[in-house]
């Protein structure tokens, strides 16, 4: 009985945590699945690749600076919408345009279950990464050349940077930081 009550409490807390955003679906996954990448996640990719505040992290990970070409991006964006987004649907179109731009630059969401399983297994074995799992959910994996970006999201709402990792092709952690 005691076990049953504890299980119900854990389930209740977990289900609360999934309602983190109107823009997020529940991306929690079993260990051999890839997280379900959301259009909004491209904002984090864009932030990591272009902002000066992450230059140090890019250097640590050996990822070149990728200045976003405004003209090229606007050309892609114009295929999705005219002017600034005004509705939720248009905002999502903006994020999809952002995704298309970066995918043209070779940054792709990881969707291969075998690779995701290897990443999940590796992260589960990293003691300092396990700390994330207590309060964070892995939300998206991206591949940049032969490296991987791992994004997390918090189960709490706050303005704190969210944990992110860069892995090399052997899945060794090159750098961890908040984004």
């Amino acid at each position: 009985m005691k076990t049953l009550i504890i299980s119900i409490i854990i389930l209740s807390v977990s289900s609360t945590g999934t309602e983190i955003s109107h823009f997020y679906s529940d991306t929690r996954h079993s260990l051999n699945e890839c997280p379900v990448q959301e259009p909004f996640d491209w904002v984090a990719v864009d932030l990591f690749l272009t902002s000066t505040q992450h230059q140090q992290n890019r250097e640590k990970a050996g990822i070149e600076n990728l200045k976003k070409q405004d003209v090229e991006f606007k050309t892609i964006l114009s295929n999705y919408l005219d002017g600034d987004p005004r509705t939720k649907e248009e905002v999502t179109k903006y994020w999809n345009a952002l995704g298309e731009y970066w995918q043209r630059k070779g940054i792709t969401p990881v969707t291969n279950p075998q690779i995701c399983q290897k990443i999940n297994d590796k992260l589960s074995s990293e003691i300092f990464v396990q700390r994330y799992d207590e309060s964070h959910i892995r939300r998206a994996y991206y591949q940049i050349n032969d490296k991987y970006i791992i994004l997390h999201r918090s189960t709490e709402r706050d303005t704190r940077p969210k944990p992110a990792l860069i892995l090399d092709k052997h899945l060794n952690i090159l750098t961890s930081f908040g984004i």
Binding site: S21, K162, G178
Partner: protein, 303 residues
């Protein structure tokens, strides 16, 4: 002379009625007191007065932890950020027509290089416009006004809110002792801007503000901007366990983060207003961002 009291009351009532019945009467005394303390009454000489034409009102509220709704809102500050000169002695003698000011060139200055004022027969000269920058402890915007072409940042009232948030972030103390601070920039029906502080029970820490689950009920419906501080200066180390820990950096740089953008995106979605903008202010810069994550940096100004 007290500025147009009916206008002031209307403004206060507009603000207070948003937060539940009874708050207007409950807080009216406090509002009047604040009004008096802030001393935004215009100077007065015979015939002319400066009346406030634009107020900036700051409000703090308590939050119902069950529903997230705000209640018991009090006005913490009323500032006049724009004045207009009015002639208040319409019976002041002949030769002046309506008795109001005239700036027709040539009427009293043949060269038309200076604004002219009909003295209405009373012989009055307009007093100088009230100027907070000439006071003994002027606002920070006097030394470093914002001229960014961002309408919210460039608003004097918003800059003064930035200054207050920055002061309350205690950035003169060690990094572990600082706090993020923030609030909502709101626009009233008459298009004047105001500020609503984040509820007091939203926990402020050096690297984050912890936002309760039902926070969307705390967001004023007339929000057009959301601002919070990053109480750091570029180059500082934020990796102390009591600051940002492993989510920090040994070399802080201005900017925003994924959580900040998500916060504004959720608010925009809740209010169905995707023109709401986010602002992060720190020791070096102001970072503006849209609800879809487009970022524009500005140099620090106004605080």
């Amino acid at each position: 002379m007290i500025p147009d009291s009916k206008l002031a009351e209307t403004l206060l009532e507009e603000q207070l009625r948003k937060f539940g019945k009874g708050t207007w009467l409950e807080n009216r005394a406090a509002a009047k007191s604040t009004n008096d303390q802030n001393g935004f009454q215009s100077n007065s000489t015979s015939g002319w007065d400066w009346e406030c034409s634009e107020y900036f009102i700051t409000i703090s509220c308590l939050r119902n932890s069950q529903t997230g709704e705000l209640y018991n809102c009090t006005i913490t500050e009323i500032r006049c950020i724009s004045y207009e000169l009015v002639y208040n002695d319409p019976g002041g003698g002949g030769g002046g027509g309506s008795g109001g000011p005239s700036d027709e060139p040539g009427e009293c200055d043949p060269m038309g290089t200076e604004p002219c004022y009909d003295d209405g027969g009373g012989g009055s000269i307009p007093p100088p416009e009230p100027d907070p920058c000439s006071e003994s402890n002027p606002p920070a915007y006097c030394d470093n006004p914002c001229e960014t072409n961002d309408l919210l940042i460039d608003n004097i009232g918003v800059q003064m809110s930035f200054e207050r948030l920055w002061d309350e972030s205690r950035t003169n103390l060690s990094i572990e002792q600082r706090f993020e601070q923030g609030g909502f920039i709101v626009q009233n029906p008459n298009n004047e801007l105001g500020f609503v502080n984040f509820p007091e029970d939203w926990q402020r820490l050096a690297c984050e503000i912890i936002i309760p689950e039902n926070y969307l009920n705390s967001v004023p419906s007339n929000t057009i901007g959301v601002v919070h501080t990053h109480p750091f200066f570029e180059g500082e180390d934020t990796t102390s366990p009591n600051v940002c820990g492993s989510d920090g950096t040994s070399n802080y740089q201005s900017g925003t983060n994924f959580g900040d953008i998500n916060f504004v995106t959720e608010i925009s979605n809740h209010l169905s207003n995707f023109s709401i903008k986010g602002y992060v202010i720190d020791g070096n810069n102001i970072t503006s961002f849209t609800s879809w994550g487009a970022i524009t940096p500005f140099s620090r100004c106004g605080y």
